[in-house]
């Protein structure tokens, strides 16, 4: 019975086309752009002219031409193809690194916000400590200890990334807790789990959803940054950050090796931020910026 349940969650709407029509321009552009990127990544083997590892020593360090749309790198690999295949990796890692911690982060935060008391104190204490530490520093530390690689990136991200979601969900839940429909649910005798999950949470996740788009961008930046430092994806796997690192030494002669992957990051990040902006408007959130 969801009578006293969802006063303000308008995520579930009636007709799809009417919904999409009401979107703001930034949301539309962002979604279109992201769709383009995701589709390109998915169909990379079809779109790319060359395999990502195909080396052609006759075409080393070539400028962008028709046959190599974004040029080639020091091993003669086509950069356009590598960017496309790199998209798969970056998007995948970004997605998992964002939404997996988001899930348990929101749950922990919602629990702390709803229950208050000792649970809340403990969670706040852990949050404070976790946030007193620069994110990247912690991850570098963990990675350097465990060794580089995608698996270990996931481990380190899962350890720390949940904190922001916990904070947001906790704050929102504390606001929702005081509202009448929550009291009504309590009076009706619903178990806590149900109250939080089905009544409170749908209304308390708006800011987390909006933040997740910025987080996605930050995670892509994080992954590429770690790969750039040599702590992330290992060569020869194509990944945007790793490609920028590879191009670093040829900055002067072949600037495109560095620039193109970076542009890919910027494009993806822009699409995600536009979506975040549009979502914020759509959900009626006070969007105070990216983070």
């Amino acid at each position: 019975m969801t009578v006293a349940c969802i006063p303000s969650a308008r995520i579930f709407s009636t007709s799809v086309s009417r919904e999409v029509g009401s979107w703001s321009t930034s949301l539309k552009i962002g979604c279109a752009l992201l769709l383009l990127i995701v589709v390109s990544a998915m169909f990379a083997p079809l779109i790319a002219g060359y395999g990502p590892d195909f080396q052609n020593f006759d075409a080393v360090l070539q400028r962008p031409t028709f046959s190599h749309l974004l040029g080639t790198d020091s091993l003669g690999r086509d950069i356009f193809s590598r960017v496309l295949f790199g998209a798969r990796l970056d998007l995948q890692i970004g997605f998992i690194a964002t939404y997996v911690p988001a899930i348990y982060g929101v749950l922990i935060g919602a629990l702390a916000g709803y229950k208050g008391g000792k649970v809340d104190t403990v969670v706040m204490g852990v949050l404070n400590i976790a946030m007193a530490f620069p994110f990247l520093v912690l991850i570098i530390g963990i990675l350097a200890i465990l060794g580089p690689g995608i698996q270990n990136i996931y481990i380190s991200v899962f350890l720390v990334a949940w904190t922001m979601y916990a904070r947001l969900a906790r704050a929102d839940m504390m606001v929702e807790r005081t509202k009448d429909y929550m009291t009504a649910a309590r009076v009706l005798g619903f178990p806590t789990r149900r109250i939080i999950l089905r009544h409170g949470l749908p209304n308390a996740i708006s800011s987390s959803i909006v933040f997740s788009t910025s987080d996605f961008v930050l995670n892509i930046l994080l992954v590429s940054g770690l790969s750039f430092l040599g702590l992330g994806v290992q060569p020869p796997t194509p990944e945007w950050g790793a490609m920028i690192a590879e191009g670093k030494d040829f900055l002067f002669q072949a600037w495109w090796i560095c620039t193109m992957p970076g542009l890919a990051v910027v494009l993806t990040g822009t699409a995600l931020s536009l979506i975040g902006d549009g979502l914020a408007q759509r959900l009626g959130e006070r969007h105070h910026g990216f983070v």
Binding site: A132, P134, I145, G225, L229, I244, C258, H288
Partner: protein, 321 residues
């Protein structure tokens, strides 16, 4: 009168510092015991495994590292309070000295980055708020989004390429020897950081300013005959800075992270590069000392933010006698 003000600030500062101590302790605890759970140890890494177990045990006994962990931890704390953070296993030098050498470049970088960000962000946010929903506003927001999505290392490399190499105007690595040289070396790195931080500030400031613009006292100011720019600068901006300081303080973690990468790209001899080295070599005392310093930095920034609230908002001042 001035003395009383200083006293108020001091009392407030001390109160906040005391509150942060448990957090700092928590961090050191976490790092201390966390590192111990790790495979590989510094001696074997340094000697590439070409050392007997007996010799390793002997070295550790000499360094006092074979005692029970809690005792080692309290020993660490005891010495830390006295200012002694131990000695680096790899570099055979006091940790405090090693950190001290690399401390100032990092601080300079952070300061320069924040300064450039503020210089960029405030005018852009003002323009955005004044010309709200017009072309300039949309353009600024779009540029902000671009800036936010740009990886700092990529921006750094591009700046090195364009301004450093092609135009040859500014140095691209190192820190320099004297004040002027420091400044010249910090321009590009500072700019790199600001290209990441400024968008966050612009968005936050713009949002706060738009909030303030709907307040009653702004309408009253207009009814007084003040010009829109005067109102924006003197009545909206100061009020809007308050929540933005919060945003800045909350994001300090990201700022420090970004600084680490920028230090690497521009070969600045700062704490970031020290950290990367020490972690690679499992140099426990150094890692511990560094994490302590980082935690203190974050706390210090938050404290600064709190103090600046007192400066800007009189309501905070009066309620903290």
């Amino acid at each position: 009168m001035l003395q009383r003000k200083v006293m108020i600030y001091l009392q407030y500062a001390i109160k906040r510092v005391l509150h942060s101590v448990p957090v700092i302790l928590g961090v050191t605890l976490f790092v201390f015991f966390g590192i111990q759970c790790v495979p590989g140890d510094p001696i074997r890494i340094m000697t590439r495994g070409r050392i007997t177990d007996a010799a390793v045990a002997g070295i550790y006994a000499h360094l006092g590292m074979n005692r029970p962990l809690p005792i080692q931890y309290f020993d660490f704390l005891r010495k830390a309070v006295a200012g002694n953070l131990g000695e680096s296993i790899i570099q055979h030098a006091p940790v405090t000295m090693l950190i001290g050498e690399k401390f100032w470049p990092s601080i300079w970088l952070l300061g320069t980055g924040t300064l450039f960000s503020a210089i960029l962000a405030i005018p852009l946010a003002l323009l955005s708020a004044y010309y709200r929903d017009r072309l300039i506003d949309h353009a600024i927001r779009l540029v902000s989004i671009f800036g936010f999505a740009m990886p700092s290392f990529w921006v750094g490399l591009l700046l090195i390429l364009s301004i450093g190499i092609y135009l040859g105007w500014l140095p691209i690595s190192g820190f320099g020897d004297d004040f002027i040289s420091h400044v010249r070396h910090l321009i590009l790195p500072g700019l790199t950081i600001s290209l990441f931080l400024a968008p966050i500030l612009v968005q936050s400031l713009r949002s706060s300013m738009l909030d303030v613009l709907t307040a009653d006292h702004v309408e009253v100011a207009r009814a007084k005959g003040l010009s829109e720019w005067h109102i924006l600068l003197r009545h909206v901006l100061p009020n809007a800075l308050i929540p933005t300081i919060t945003v800045l303080a909350v994001n300090i973690s990201w700022l420090l992270s970004g600084a680490v990468i920028v230090e690497y790209v521009f070969s600045l001899p700062g704490l970031g590069s020290l950290l990367i080295h020490s972690v690679g070599y499992r140099d426990y005392p150094l890692i511990q000392g560094l994490s302590l310093v980082f935690a203190i930095l974050v706390v210090a920034v938050n404290l600064l933010a709190d103090l600046s609230y007192m400066l800007v908002d009189p309501r905070v001042r009066k309620s903290n006698p």
